[in-house]
C-alpha cells in the first residue's frame, strides 16, 4: 500500500506541471504580447535616448523574439530563477524578494485558514444540531453573510473598533517596530520568536495576527458552515448514530463520531477554498499593510515591473498546486475507498 501511495503522490504531483505551464503562458501572453513597452512604462517617459532604451531592453531580454523570451524564462524558471526586477531597484533577483515576502503570506493564510475551519465547523454543527429551528436559519444566514463580507470593509471595521476605539490591537504591520531585539530566521515570525525565546516579540507578532486572520478567516468560514451542517444532518440520520443513541452513548460523543464522518468532504472543500483564501489575502494584506505576496504584487504593479508580477503569479500557482496535492493525499489517506 505504501508503494501505491507513493505512486499516487508522484502522478498527482506531475499534474501540477501543466497547470503552472498554462498559467505561465496566459500571464506571459497578457504581459508581453499586448501593446505597450514595459521599459517605457517603467521609465515613465518616451523621451529616452534610443541607445539607452536598447540597452535596457537588452538587459531585460526584451530584444529577443517572443518565443525565445518565452522559452528562456521557462528554462530559468526550472532552475528556480525568476528573472530580475525591471524597476527600481532594478536588476535584483525577483526570487530574493519573494523569499522575503512569501513567509508573511504563508503565516497569514495558516492562521486565517485555522480561524475559518474552526468557525465553520462550530457554526455548521450548531446548525445541524438545532436543525429546523431559528438557530439553523440563523446559521444559514451567517454562511451567506460571511461569504459576501467585503474583506477590506470588514477589516476596516475591526480596525476601527479594536484599534481606534478600544486600543486593544494593532491595525497594521507584522510586529511592533520598537522591538529591535528580534531577528527573522525563517520569515515565519511566530516560529522565529519561539526559536529565539523572545516572548515580547511573540506577543507582538500574535497581536498583529489577530485582526487580519479574523478578517480573512471569517469571510472563508461561510462555505464550511454550509457543508458541515448538511453533512452532519445526513450523518446524524444514519443507523449507526441511532444505535449509539439507543445504547445511551452521551450526546457529546455521538456528535463527535458524527463530525468525524462528516469531515471527509470538508477536506476537499479546504483545497478549493485555498485559492479563494490566497485571493482574499491580497485584499487583507492591502487593508492591514501586511508585507506579504499580495502587497508585493501591488507594489510592483505601480512600477509596471512585469518580471516580478510574472514571478509572483508562478509562485502563487505552485502554492495552489502543492496545497491541492496535499489535500488530495490527505483525502486518499482518510477515505479508504480512494484507490491509488
Amino acid at each position: 500500500m505504501a508503494r501505491g501511495l507513493g505512486r499516487y503522490i508522484i502522478i498527482r504531483g506531475l499534474m501540477i506541471i501543466p497547470m503552472i505551464l498554462i498559467l505561465y503562458t496566459i500571464v506571459f501572453f497578457f504581459l508581453r504580447i499586448l501593446p505597450g513597452n514595459p521599459i517605457l512604462a517603467v521609465v515613465g517617459t518616451k523621451n529616452i535616448p534610443p541607445e539607452q532604451l536598447k540597452h535596457l531592453e537588452h538587459l531585460a531580454g526584451l530584444d529577443k523574439p517572443l518565443y525565445v523570451q518565452y522559452f528562456d524564462y521557462l528554462w530559468k524558471m526550472l532552475h528556480g530563477n525568476l528573472g530580475v526586477t525591471l524597476a527600481s531597484p532594478m536588476g535584483k533577483p525577483v526570487s530574493s524578494y519573494i523569499a522575503l515576502r512569501l513567509p508573511a503570506t504563508v503565516e497569514l493564510t495558516i492562521f486565517a485558514f485555522t480561524v475559518s475551519v474552526l468557525l465553520g465547523i462550530a457554526t455548521g454543527v450548531l446548525g445541524a444540531v438545532k436543525r429546523g429551528t431559528s438557530v439553523d436559519t440563523g446559521m444559514r444566514v451567517y454562511s451567506i453573510v460571511a461569504y459576501t463580507l467585503f474583506i477590506p470593509w470588514f477589516g476596516m471595521m475591526l480596525q476601527y473598533l479594536f484599534g481606534v476605539k478600544l486600543h486593544w490591537l494593532p491595525t497594521s504591520g507584522r510586529i511592533n517596530p520598537t522591538i529591535t531585539s528580534f531577528h527573522s530566521i525563517t520569515g515565519l515570525y511566530v516560529i522565529d520568536a519561539i526559536i529565539e525565546r523572545n516572548w515580547a516579540a511573540l506577543g507582538s507578532v500574535l497581536k498583529h495576527l489577530v485582526l487580519p486572520s479574523i478578517t480573512l478567516g471569517t469571510v472563508l468560514s461561510g462555505a464550511y458552515t454550509r457543508l458541515v451542517r448538511n453533512n452532519m444532518v445526513d450523518v446524524l440520520s444514519q443507523d449507526f448514530i441511532r444505535a449509539y443513541r439507543a445504547r445511551g452513548v452521551p450526546e457529546r460523543k455521538v456528535l463527535w463520531y458524527a463530525l468525524k464522518n462528516a469531515f471527509i468532504p470538508v477536506v476537499t472543500l479546504m483545497g478549493l477554498q485555498f485559492a479563494i483564501l490566497l485571493g482574499g489575502a491580497v485584499l487583507t494584506e492591502t487593508t492591514f499593510n501586511w508585507p506579504g505576496m499580495g502587497t508585493f504584487i501591488m507594489d510592483r504593479i505601480n512600477y509596471r515591473d512585469y518580471n516580478s508580477i510574472e514571478g509572483a503569479v508562478i509562485v502563487f500557482a505552485l502554492f495552489v498546486g502543492l496545497i491541492s496535492l496535499t489535500v488530495d493525499v490527505i483525502y486518499a489517506l482518510l477515505d479508504p475507498r480512494v484507490e491509488y
Binding site: 501543466p18 497547470m19 498554462i22 498559467l23 496566459i26 500571464v27 497578457f30 504581459l31 499586448l34 505597450g36 436559519t137 444559514r140 444566514v141 451567506i144 453573510v145 461569504y147 459576501t148 463580507l149 467585503f150 474583506i151 477590506p152 470593509w153 470588514f154 476596516m156 471595521m157 480596525q159 476601527y160 484599534g163 481606534v164 491595525t171 454550509r226 448538511n230 444532518v233 445526513d234 485559492a275 479563494i276 490566497l278 485571493g279 482574499g280 491580497v282 485584499l283 492591502t286 487593508t287 504584487i297 501591488m298 504593479i301 509596471r304 508580477i309 503569479v313 502563487f316 500557482a317 495552489v320 498546486g321 491541492s324
Partner: protein, 282 residues
Amino acid sequence: MRLIDYIINPLRERKPGRGLLLFGISVVLTVIIMAIFAPWISPYNPTQIGADVFAPPSSKHLMGTNNLGQDVFSRIIWGSRIILYVVAIATTLSILVGVPLGLLSGYRGGKVDRALSMIMDSIYSFPSLILAIVIAVVLGPSPVNTAIAIAFVYVPTYFRMVRGQTLSLKNQLFVEAARAIGVKDWETMRKYILPNVLPTVLVVFTLSVADAILTEAGLSFLGLSVTPPTPDWGYDLRVGQPFLLDGYWWLAFFPGIMIMLLAMGFAMIGEAINERLSLGTR
C-alpha cells in the same frame, strides 16, 4: 418552464427560502433603481467639491461628506452605476464565451475537449482575484477593461458547468433520437441541449454574480478600475480608510456596506433558485 418561473414560482409559495428571495430581490431592485434614476435621486453633484469637509451624517448630508466636501450619499447613488455596468458587461461576456465553449467541448469531446478542459481547470483553480489583477493592470484602468478582466476569470465557471451537463445530456435518448433522424450537430446543441442547460446557467449566474461584484469591488479598491473623481464604491472605500482611523467612519462605512448588500442580494436570490432546482441544501 420558462426561466423567469424559477424566480416567480418560489415567490408565490410560502416556503422557508422565500424570505431570503424577497430580501435579495428587493436589495437588487433598489440598487438598479438607484442606478437608473441617479440624476433625480441624488441630492448633490457627486463630484462637486465643497468647503464643508468631514461633515458627519445629518439631515443635510444623509451620509456625511468626505475629505473633499463631496456628499457621500450622492456618491453612493452614482457609484451604483459603475459597479452594475462593469458586472453586467463582465457576466454577459463570460456567459457568451463560456456557455458555447462548454457546449462544444462537451458535445464534441476528443482532443479539443481535453485541451480546453485542462486550460479552464488551470484558470479555475488559480486565485481569481490575482489573475484579474494582472489582466486589469495590463489593460489599464477603465470600466470596460475591468469588465474584461473579470469576464476572463469567470469563463471557466460557466464552461465547467455547461460541459458537465452537456456530457450527461448527449447520451440521453431524445438527443440520440435527434441525431438519428439527421438533425445537424449545431442544431442539436441549440435546440435540444442548450434549453436543458439554461436553468443551471441561471443558478451559476446568480451565484457567480455575487462573486463578480466582490471581485469588481476588490479591483477598484486596489485602484485598478476607475480613475478619480468618478464615484465608485470600491475606490471610495479605499480613499476612506486613512480617515476611518482618524474617526471619520462614514467615508468608508457606507461604500463598503453597499458592496456587501448588493453581493448579498444576488447570493440570496441564487440560494433560493438553487434550492428550487434542488442542487444544494436540504
